[in-house]
Each structure stands twice: as C-alpha cells, then as structure tokens.
C-alpha cells in the first residue's frame, strides 16, 4: 500500500492537494481564502495531468534542433490540457475576485455568512 503510494508520488500528492483545496473552497467562510482554495484545487489537477504525461529523460514537446522522432519528447496532450486549464482557472479567479470586490464595497466584510445576513437585512 505505502509502496504503491510512494511509486505514484505525484498523483498521491496531487490528490491530497485537491482535497485540501476543495475543503478550503467549501468550508472557509472568507471569500479570499475560498478563492485561494479554488486555485489550490485546480493546481493539484494540473500537477496530476502533467505528471501523467511526463516520461522521464525526455524533453518538452517543442521541436528543436531538427529532432523529429516522437520518442524524443514527452506526451504533449496533457501539457496542452494543463495550458487550457490554466486559462480557465485564471478567468474564474478574475471573476471571483471581481465579485468579492463588489461584495466588499457593499457590505465591508469578506465573510460570506455575514454578507448573507446583511443582504437579508436589506429587505426589512
């Protein structure tokens, strides 16, 4: 069991990181911490993907110095997926930060529970 986990060290670490990330995202009440949790969660998946595509001893899949045989490079698809994922995560972080700014300007707190209470109080 432990040996298996050690052999797949990157995957083990990334799953642990993923769990840390989503726990922060769901349980922390502070919006900024939630956003950090989101980023940890996404980064864990990129580690997972990148480690899956890596073949030790080979180079990044960019054709240089005229070497064209596939055996010289690592699997390019996971790297491509990671790049796409990073773009998505950046845009989501941006949107969440924008929402946080709006909420903070309105309610002067970052705690989501307090914000919900204050919003409810606006009705009365």
């Amino acid at each position: 069991m432990w040996q298996l986990l050690y052999q797949n060290l990157e995957q083990t670490v990334s799953v642990i990181l993923f769990c840390i990330g989503f726990t922060i995202l769901l349980l922390q009440r502070n919006l900024i911490r939630k956003i950090i949790g989101l980023n940890i969660m996404d980064t864990a998946i990129y580690l997972f993907l990148a480690s899956m595509g890596y073949i030790s001893g080979r180079k990044a899949p960019i054709i240089a110095e005229g070497v064209t045989e596939a055996a010289a490079y690592i699997n390019p698809i996971p790297s491509g997926l990671v790049l796409t994922g990073i773009v998505v995560a950046v845009s989501f972080t941006g949107i969440m930060l924008a929402l946080t700014i709006r909420l903070y300007r309105r309610y002067h707190t970052l705690n989501i529970d307090e914000i919900a209470l204050l919003a409810k109080g606006e009705d009365a």
């Binding site: 993923f18 899956m52 698809i77 989501i112 606006e122």
Partner: protein, 498 residues
C-alpha cells in the same frame, strides 16, 4: 457531403462570431443581432434534424485537421439535433418574450454586454450537445458557467450578488470534480474522444484492470454534473439564483443550461461508459434515490415559500428530480422519459418565469402571494399562459407534463415488487404536492384583490411578446397531444446514441 451536414458547425460558429461582434455594437443593433442569431440557430437546427431523420445513423464531423483518435470532432445524430432544436426554440421564444424587460435589470448602455453572454451561452449549449470530445466538454462547461454567472449578475442588487457567489462556489467545486474525473479517465485510457474512450472503457470492464479507478471516475463526473444541474442534495445554490436573477436569465438558466449538463451526463453514460456499467456499479440506484427525494422534498419546500419566484425555483429542483428518476430507473424507457421531460420542462419553466414576471409587474413589483391576488385579471394573457404552464407542471392531460409522468410510470412498470410501487407512489405524491402549490398559485392570481393595495396601471404587452408567450403555451399543449413523433425521434436517437 451535403451543405446541410455543416449546419451544426455553422450554428456554433455563428453564435461565437455574434458574441464577438456584439461587443462593439450599439444596444439596439446588439438586440437585433441576438434575435437574428437565435432565430437562425432554430432554422439551422431544424434543418439538421430533418437531415438526421433521413440518415440511418449519426455522422462525425471533424473539427480541425487531425482525424479521429487524435483530433477533435463533433457528432451529429437525431437526439443531438432534437435537443438543439428544442433548446434553441425555447431560447428564441424566451428572448422575444423577455428581452423587452431588459431596462428593468441592466442599464441601456450595457445591454450589448448582456447580449454577448446570451450568444456565448447558446454557443456553449450547442457545443455541449454536439461535441464528441471529453475535454471540449470541460472547456465549454466552464464557458457556460462564466456566461450564466454574467447573465445573473447584471442585476446590481445585494441578493443577486450573494446568490451568484454561492452559485459560483458550488459550480467551481463541480468543475473541479469533473476535471479531476476527466484527467483520471485520460490517465487510465489515453483517449479523450468518446468512441475510442468507449472501447477502452469496455476493455477495462472486461479485463477488470483499473476497475477501481473507473468507478472513481464515474462517481467524480456524475457528482460534478449533478452539482451543476441542481440535483436534489446539491441544489442549495439553485433557489436563490433563480429567484433573484433577471427573469430572462432565470428562464435561460433553469430552462436550458441546467438541462444541458444533464444531457452531457447522459452522453457520458451512453457513449463512454455504457449504461450496463452504470447499473452494475450501482450509480443508477443513487440517481434514483436522489431523484425521488428531490421530487418530494423540493416540492415540500416549494409549498412553504412565500415568494412566488422562490416557489418556482424550488419546483425546478423537483422537476430535475423527475429527470434523475428516469435516468436512475436505468432502462431505455426510463431514459427516454427523462429526455422528454428535459424538453417539456425547458419549455414550461422558461414560460413560467416570464409569465410570473409579467404578473409581478402588474402587482407593483411585489412577489408575495398576497399582493398577487387578481393579477390574472390585471394581465389576462400572462394569467392564461401561467395557468396552462402550471397545469403542465401538475400533469393535467393534454399538456406535456402528463405525457412525462405517464412515460415515467410506464417505465417503472418493468420492475416487480417494491421498486414498481416506489416509482408509482413517488409519482403520485409529487403530483399531489405539485397540485397543492401550483393550483394554490393559480387560485391566488384569480382571487379578488384586497382593497387597500394600490396597483400601478397595467402596461400593454407588445404583440410580438404576446406571440412568444402564446407560442410557448401552444408548444406545451402540442407536447401533450402530439408527442408521438418526438418520442419516436428520442427512441430511435437513443438507439444510435451509443
């Protein structure tokens, strides 16, 4: 290759180009372009549907220059074309009926930004319906999430901000699970296109190697998409978002976008994993239990609401429960009923949100039931369409909702013993509960208004909006009395789906 075969691609690219162009247009032109795009997508989808009905099987359509196991492609079959047609018709009618209210929730200068999001959402919905590639699914689910976030948050109001923050947190969590699931699936199979993936998964099931990871993958992707489509225990984001979003956005979100996620899930089950594996891995009983508890508990919560829009939002969660119950039954008949429910509910729910807004409007923007008394007289057309939509929700014959419940009951009949009774009893209880809150609402909009409340003078609904509302209403009745051809398309489409 005929020209018609390109139409799904054209409709996707048309929406995307329109989304880009709209950003530099004046508000009026932006609205006109959005109407034009949604209308053209309806026409293109109908033509695609008629083409696929002539063909025996679905055909793949290569996107880019790399052939099948490496490149990206979309797949066009009957079921996809039917869903695209249904959703684009609903979007088109909702836009005609609802975009005229835009001054109430977005400043005139920013209407074009709202239109961009509608175009992008439509593009993402179409891609998710047609795509054959799992990573494209992930990317466009994220685009759809961003677009729907923007559709909601245009209304600058404390409740909306809080609701959308909750929405985003739950959806980002769902996306994370989905992405992890897709990455693990890629790790154990080495494919992202659905056909090679399906073969690889079958090999995994046959040999038994990586059986554990496969179960984890199925669970992750199911949970991710269930959160995003507001399946019952994960529905916490839905009521607030639907209730505080602008009416048109609620109609699009609950009518079209949440159904798209379920369609992706059905696609994953049928085309990648295979329904037999879903049943043998005990995923479908889980969906069944969630669906049934959603049908009943969400209805109970709907009864306790004082705000009409929150009530309709909870009823949305209950109706999603019907879809998951159909999926959870696991037979072909159950999935067919679920697919038909997706079409019916998308028409009914978008109409309900728009009609409710009209009723609230003539009651001085007050959403409590007490103030809605007599709203059916102050705005006669909205009252009529609301009543018909509510009847479909309850499942009165000659409306779409009746056919859904009938088909669900029939699909439950294949089981013996307690499972059959469970399906029938759940349907009976939820119908009763639906009856309680929808008929209560219909009665209350036709009650004599209390004398001490002053109502604003009724504004005239322009003819084009009336046409849209009544067209949706007729569509509901058509789904109730002329459902045979549509059910047949779903049946034959599902046969060629896997």
């Amino acid at each position: 290759m005929t020209l018609t075969q390109n139409f799904p691609f054209f409709s996707i690219i048309l929406c995307m180009i329109a989304g880009i162009v709209t950003s530099i247009l004046k508000p009026k032109a932006a609205k006109a372009l959005t109407f034009f795009v949604s209308g053209s997508v309806v026409v293109l989808s109908v033509l695609t549907l008629s083409l696929t009905l002539r063909l025996d099987s679905a055909y793949p359509y290569m996107m880019g220059h790399f052939p099948s196991p490496w490149g990206n492609e979309i797949r066009i079959g009957r079921l996809e074309a039917l869903m695209a047609t249904g959703f684009s018709v609903v979007l088109c009618l909702s836009l005609i009926g609802g975009l005229r209210h835009s001054p109430a929730f977005v400043s005139e200068k920013k209407v074009n930004l709202y239109c961009i999001m509608v175009d992008l959402a439509l593009a993402a919905v179409l891609v998710l319906i047609y795509t054959n590639d799992l990573f494209t699914v992930y990317v466009f689910i994220e685009i759809l999430t961003i677009a729907s976030c923007a559709l909601v948050v245009v209304r600058q109001n404390g409740h909306t901000l809080v609701a959308i923050t909750r929405y985003m947190i739950m959806h980002l969590f769902g996306s994370g699970l989905l992405l992890l699931g897709i990455s693990m699936l890629y790790g154990i199979t080495g494919h992202l296109l659905m056909e090679p993936l399906g073969e690889a998964v079958r090999a995994i099931v046959d040999t038994g190697e990586y059986a554990g990871p496969l179960t984890v993958v199925i669970a992750l992707i199911t949970a991710g998409l269930a959160i995003k489509s507001a399946m019952f225990p994960f529905h916490s984001w839905a009521p607030d978002t639907y209730a505080y979003a602008p009416p048109l956005s609620s109609a699009i979100l609950s009518g079209i976008i949440s159904k798209t996620y379920i369609f992706v899930l059905i696609k994953f089950y049928y085309r990648v994993v295979g329904m037999d594996v879903i049943i043998s891995q005990n995923i479908s009983p889980f969906l069944f239990v969630c669906g049934v508890s959603g049908m009943i508990l969400a209805s109970v919560m709907a009864i306790s609401q004082r705000d009409i829009r929150r009530m309709i939002a909870y009823s949305s969660v209950a109706q999603i429960g019907y879809i998951y119950m159909g999926l959870g039954i696991g037979t072909t008949a159950g999935v067919e009923a679920a697919l038909f429910q997706m079409l019916v509910h998308s028409v009914v729910k978008s109409l309900l949100f728009l009609a409710t807004y009209e009723l609230i409007n003539v009651s001085g923007d007050r959403k409590r039931f007490r103030y809605l008394h007599g709203a059916g007289y102050r705005n006669v057309p909205a009252g009529i369409v609301f009543t018909v939509a509510a009847m479909s929700m309850v499942g009165i014959p000659f409306t779409g909702g009746f056919i859904v419940k009938l088909n669900l009951a029939i699909s439950g009949m294949v089981f013996g013993g307690w499972m059959r009774s469970l399906v029938l009893i759940a349907l009976a209880i939820s119908t009763l509960l639906n009856g309680v809150y929808f008929l209560h609402t219909v009665v209350s909009i036709y009650r004599r208004p209390p004398g001490d409340i002053a109502y604003p003078p009724a504004e005239k609904i322009p003819p084009y909006a009336l046409v849209a509302l009544f067209a949706s209403m007729l569509l509901i009745i058509y789904l109730g009395i002329g459902s045979e051809p549509i059910l047949r398309v779903i049946q034959t489409g599902l046969m060629t789906f896997s």
